[in-house]
């Protein structure tokens, strides 16, 4: 078992992020049992690798990064069918284009959207879009999200913006 300051930090802070990690796992896998397995494997890897963890750095981002990498490597390999449920095309629609309806229909729609609808809309997005939306929801900074996604800080903003535009698009589709 790994010990040392890294392990202490992980043991002390790790549990504080359990609900947030489980939430991402649940929205990545779409199933309770798979989400629990993914979270447990994430903590197993975190404790096993805790010696390499540098005390004082960001435990939260580190744990989310392990979770996402575990999901990508283990989960996709285990399943024959791809995780991505919906065509990626929608997410590539440039956010800077006029995707907002000028009328009040969308505002009204967003005010009335229920939990099951926003959940379904989120689950219909690709893995990366789901991840970036949820990390942003966890109050993570662009720097932290960049650590998790393993991408430059500069591209987090555009990825988040694309993902949110796709989410709005899905919600608008439901309204029709």
């Amino acid at each position: 078992m790994a010990e040392g300051p890294g392990r202490d930090a992980v043991a002390r802070e790790g549990l504080a992020h359990l609900d947030a990690l489980h939430r991402l796992a649940r929205y990545l896998t779409g199933r309770d049992a798979d989400a629990e397995d993914l979270v447990q494997e994430t903590y197993a890897r975190a404790f096993a690798g805790a010696e390499r963890f540098v005390s004082g750095t960001n435990v939260k981002a580190w744990l989310f990064r392990i979770l996402r990498n575990t999901f990508i490597s283990e989960h996709r390999r285990r399943r024959a069918s791809p995780i991505v449920a919906a065509p990626e095309v929608m997410e590539r629609a440039p956010a800077s284009e006029e995707t907002w309806l000028r009328d009040d229909l969308e505002l009204d729609r967003l005010r009335k959207v229920v939990g099951a609808e926003i959940e379904a809309a989120l689950l219909s997005l690709g893995e990366e879009a789901r991840t970036v939306v949820l990390l942003d929801l966890e109050d993570m900074s662009e720097h932290e999200i960049a650590v998790v996604l393993d991408c430059p800080v500069g591209t987090v903003k555009s990825r988040l913006s694309r993902a949110r535009a796709a989410l709005r698009q899905r919600l608008r589709d439901y309204a029709r």
């Binding site: 979270v39 197993a44 800077s96 967003l110 929801l137």
Partner: protein
């Protein structure tokens, strides 16, 4: 107006997150006050945030998962004890041993008993999880020769199981499990209407009980009752074993003897 609409749209999320500095914030708000399109876009972003924050199901971790993760995060007390302060700890221990040996002995025994109880707890939790899972068996049994190879590549050890199951105690299948901080192979057997789970895992670094052991088969095993289940723990070589079931304790003990034959 120094900001164009495109820039404003790019900053709306930063604006909602409070990440803009005072000047940029002021500039953006001035633009929103005069541009209906951007004000609309801002309201859309705000409402989307509201829906995500307040209406998206939170999906928190279950109590059972929290318990399992908490158990993983606690290193064996005996090892944790020494950490960082070997010399002072030795000095204090020496002083205590010289003055009140009985107290120290009792203290150590109680630490160990607590740690052992955590192992027993974990074994029962694993058993329940497998028994109650919707799809408990990751590999359905066509016999031990099908189950054992399935674990290859999924574990960092080779699970040794001396008992292959028979007509009375048939092997139903296997699943990956966790025991504290490590992976475990779970072999699931039946006994009439009962389920028997045998967990096999690396034995090192765990707070194995040293007292209250009884000879079962070829090993010194620790047997206890917990939440209506009988739990039998033993080690053989580098591997640790936990046998859990709600079957009759005496019957389970006889079955345990077949998993731990005399050497």
């Amino acid at each position: 107006m120094t900001l164009d609409c495109r820039e404003v749209r790019n900053r709306l999320v930063d604006h909602l997150r409070g990440r803009l500095d005072a000047d940029a914030q002021h500039e953006l708000e001035a633009h929103l006050a005069t541009c209906a399109d951007c004000a609309h876009a801002n309201e859309v972003e705000r409402l989307l945030d509201d829906a995500l924050e307040h209406r998206l199901p939170a999906r928190p971790a279950s109590a059972a998962l929290r318990e399992r993760i908490a158990a993983m995060s606690v290193p064996a007390p005996r090892r944790q004890w020494w950490r960082g302060a070997l010399v002072p700890a030795l000095a204090v221990a020496a002083a205590l041993v010289l003055t009140v040996p009985a107290l120290v002995y009792r203290q150590l025994a109680s630490l160990r008993a607590t740690a052992t109880a955590a192992m027993v707890d974990e074994a029962v939790a694993d058993h329940l999880r497998i028994a109650q899972a919707q799809r408990p068996l990751e590999v359905e049994s066509g016999g031990i020769h099908q189950v054992r190879p399935w674990f290859e590549g999924r574990l960092d050890f080779s699970p040794v199981v001396p008992f292959d199951g028979d007509a009375v105690v048939p092997l139903r299948g296997g699943a990956l499990a966790y025991f504290r901080d490590r992976r475990a192979a779970a072999f699931i057997y039946g006994l009439r209407q009962h389920t028997i789970t045998l967990l096999v895992f690396r034995a090192d670094g765990l707070p194995w009980p040293r007292t209250g052991l009884a000879r079962i088969g070829g090993v010194d095993a620790y047997r206890t009752r917990e939440r209506g289940f009988t739990v039998i723990l033993w080690r053989a070589g580098d591997l640790g074993y936990a046998l859990v079931s709600d079957a009759d304790p005496a019957e389970l003990t006889q079955i345990a003897a077949r998993f731990s034959p005399g050497v």
